[in-house]
């Protein structure tokens, strides 16, 4: 019994200490992350103020900064006292003050400029390449799934991407033409994949609908036996036939529309189509 007691105590100690270790280890969920963000923001604001105003900080901005800094100090204190709610308030107050300062400084220096695709510095060109490469990889994966033979197109895209990258290194920003070429190739690849996908998807939809129609047919029979309005039952049977007819004619979109109507009817009579 002694050993059993020791065992239980050991396991209990282990059990109680493990969760606390875990909470600390994944403490990015804990409020101390708020202090880190606020302190870094504070440092950034000090740098900005120093660069823009030097020692001549306008009064309104100085007040905002003092409020922000006090809130950071209070945040630190709240965290020390484990007062999470107060810490959250302090964080929002500090970040709001810093946000106002940043916006005031930026507003005075330059007008708002919404990002558009046409704004292309070398940095933006690099980002554009990243985006196109990411998109290209997604399409390449899909093309393999659908067995679409567009390998040569991807080789061409890789070459053009290489060309663009060399333009970045040469500080040559006249890259619109190459980007358009890549986009056109990607558009063509997507179109090919789409075409290949349509057939497979149609088959899948047909298979699924036929399976559902059999179940709906059975449900209509049960509903009829349970005394559901005959008009509704007849309408249901008619819709089942209509969907089957449209499927046989390969009119998938029309079949889907008719099925949707049937689905609503089944729901209304209390026999909804249920996922199995």
């Amino acid at each position: 019994m002694k050993k059993l007691a020791i065992f239980t105590i050991l396991v209990l100690i282990c059990g109680t200490t493990s969760p606390s270790l875990v909470t600390n280890a994944y403490g990015q969920n804990d409020p101390s992350i708020l202090l880190r963000i606020a302190v870094q923001a504070d440092k950034q604001i000090i740098n900005q103020l120093d660069q823009v105003y030097g020692t001549q900080i306008p009064n309104n901005i100085q007040i905002l900064y003092d409020n922000g800094q006090k809130a950071v100090e209070s945040l630190d204190e709240s965290l020390s006292n484990d007062d999470v709610e107060k810490a959250k308030q302090d964080f929002l107050l500090a970040m709001n003050s810093f946000m106002q300062i940043s916006r005031t400084i930026s507003h005075s220096s330059q007008q708002v400029s919404q990002m558009t695709i046409s704004e292309k510095s070398n940095n933006q060109l690099s980002n554009e390449i990243d985006r196109l490469v990411k998109y290209s990889k997604t399409l390449e994966k899909l093309s393999k799934k659908y067995d679409v033979n567009v390998e040569s197109d991807f080789i061409k895209i890789n070459q053009l991407v290489g060309k663009l990258q060399s333009q970045i290194n040469d500080s040559n920003t006249n890259s619109d033409n190459v980007i358009n070429q890549i986009k056109n190739i990607l558009k063509s690849i997507k179109s090919d994949i789409h075409e290949a996908a349509v057939n497979q998807r149609s088959d899948r939809i047909k298979q699924l609908l036929n399976q559902l129609l059999d179940e709906i047919d059975e449900n209509l029979k049960t509903a009829e036996m349970n005394g559901v309005d005959k008009t509704q039952i007849d309408m249901g049977h008619e819709l089942v036939l209509e969907v089957k007819d449209l499927l046989s004619k390969n009119q998938i979109d029309d079949a889907k529309a008719a099925y949707y109507e049937l689905k609503e009817l089944m729901k209304n009579i209390g026999y909804p189509v249920i996922f199995r």
Partner: protein, 340 residues
């Protein structure tokens, strides 16, 4: 409940030293099974917070490029019986849109203004990704990200960016490839940031150091736990040996811990899908366990499809899922036969 005491073997009921050996299931239960059961429950209770702290909803993942455009990746559960699904995009300036349904089917999409009408029929989960240029604006050196999100989301900020203002409390913050990733709640959010090399690297280092410390603590905790469990197991085994009454239960335990052969598994679970059987075969041939990521690579399945397959096998009682290094370790169950 009455305890029945009876001789274990009539021929050898008395030992050389005249001690009467008895068979008593209740005593065995108390001495062997109960401590193990208690240990299992407590260990499971200890591990529960680990799993819950690892899990986080990632329905919407945003990545901001340094030029302010944003990549959106979203996974959405949809009704497979609905023919279409209408999704509000986060703006009008959309590029590189791809929508994929179950089994990586490319789905048709019509975009009208900031709404996408997706033909989802037959799909229960869709993955949509696109680039958008509406979420970030720039004023002087200051960049502002604005979004009214329908659900919690993650936001990966560009490298060397430093947050200088935000309207919401972050749920979480991580460093991924020297980039800040915030997890934020649904609703309107504004975040102001600047590009600055010094501050972000300091923050990164600070967090990394803390993560390292936490990692050491965790490893230490786990090692201590394992030592304790081993120690206790040794005590139990030694005690049982001394009592000389372990044979029957040992046989049972060994039987329970043996993974069944494939034929028996498929016989017991005759209604398994063919693709699920392939998974089971692979796991069996991989010493009875495999990471979910390995299964995805092997069978070239998307994350959600494989996850559902594994959950299906778990529901069937064929496998059990354990956490290993933040990944799902899928193991064939050892006591399948008993449960069936």
């Amino acid at each position: 409940m009455t305890s029945l005491i009876e001789p274990t073997q009539l021929n050898n009921s008395l030992g050389d030293d005249g001690i009467l050996f008895v068979r008593n299931d209740s005593i065995l239960d108390t001495m062997v099974k109960v401590p193990l059961l208690v240990a299992s429950i407590i260990i499971a209770a200890a591990l529960l917070p680990v799993q819950s702290s690892f899990s986080s909803p990632r329905d919407i993942d945003l990545t901001i490029y340094p030029d302010g455009s944003t990549h959106v990746l979203s996974e959405i559960d949809v009704d497979p019986f609905l023919t279409d699904y209408e999704l509000n995009l986060f703006g009008n300036t959309i590029d590189n849109l791809v929508v994929i349904g179950d089994n990586e089917f490319l789905l048709d999409v019509d975009i009208i203004d900031d709404t996408a009408l997706i033909q989802t029929f037959g799909s229960s989960v869709i993955t949509i990704e696109y680039d958008i240029h509406d979420l970030v604006s720039k004023q002087g050196r200051l960049w502002t990200f604005s979004l009214d999100s329908p659900s919690d989301f993650t936001l990966l900020l560009p490298k060397n960016s430093a947050i200088v203002g935000m309207t919401n409390l972050p749920i979480n913050m991580e460093i991924i490839n020297d980039q800040n990733q915030l997890t934020l709640s649904s609703g309107p959010t504004e975040i102001d940031y600047l590009f600055s090399t010094n501050s972000i690297s300091n923050l990164t280092e600070e967090i990394k150091n803390e993560e390292d410390n936490y990692l050491y603590i965790i490893i230490g905790g786990i090692i201590t736990g394992i030592i304790v469990i081993l120690l206790v197991s040794v005590i139990i085994i030694v005690r049982n040996k001394q009592k000389n009454v372990k044979k029957i239960d040992q046989v049972v335990t060994i039987q329970k811990n043996v993974i069944l052969d494939l034929e028996t598994i498929f016989k017991l679970k005759s209604d398994l899908r063919e693709d699920d059987k392939e998974l089971v075969k692979f796991i069996f041939n991989n010493n009875g366990e495999a990471l979910e990521s390995e299964l995805r690579k092997k069978f070239l399945q998307p994350r959600t499809t494989m996850w559902r397959a594994v959950k299906r096998l778990e529901r069937e009682g064929v496998v059990e899922i354990q956490k290993k290094d933040l990944q799902n370790l899928v193991k064939l169950r050892k006591n399948m036969e008993e449960e069936t």
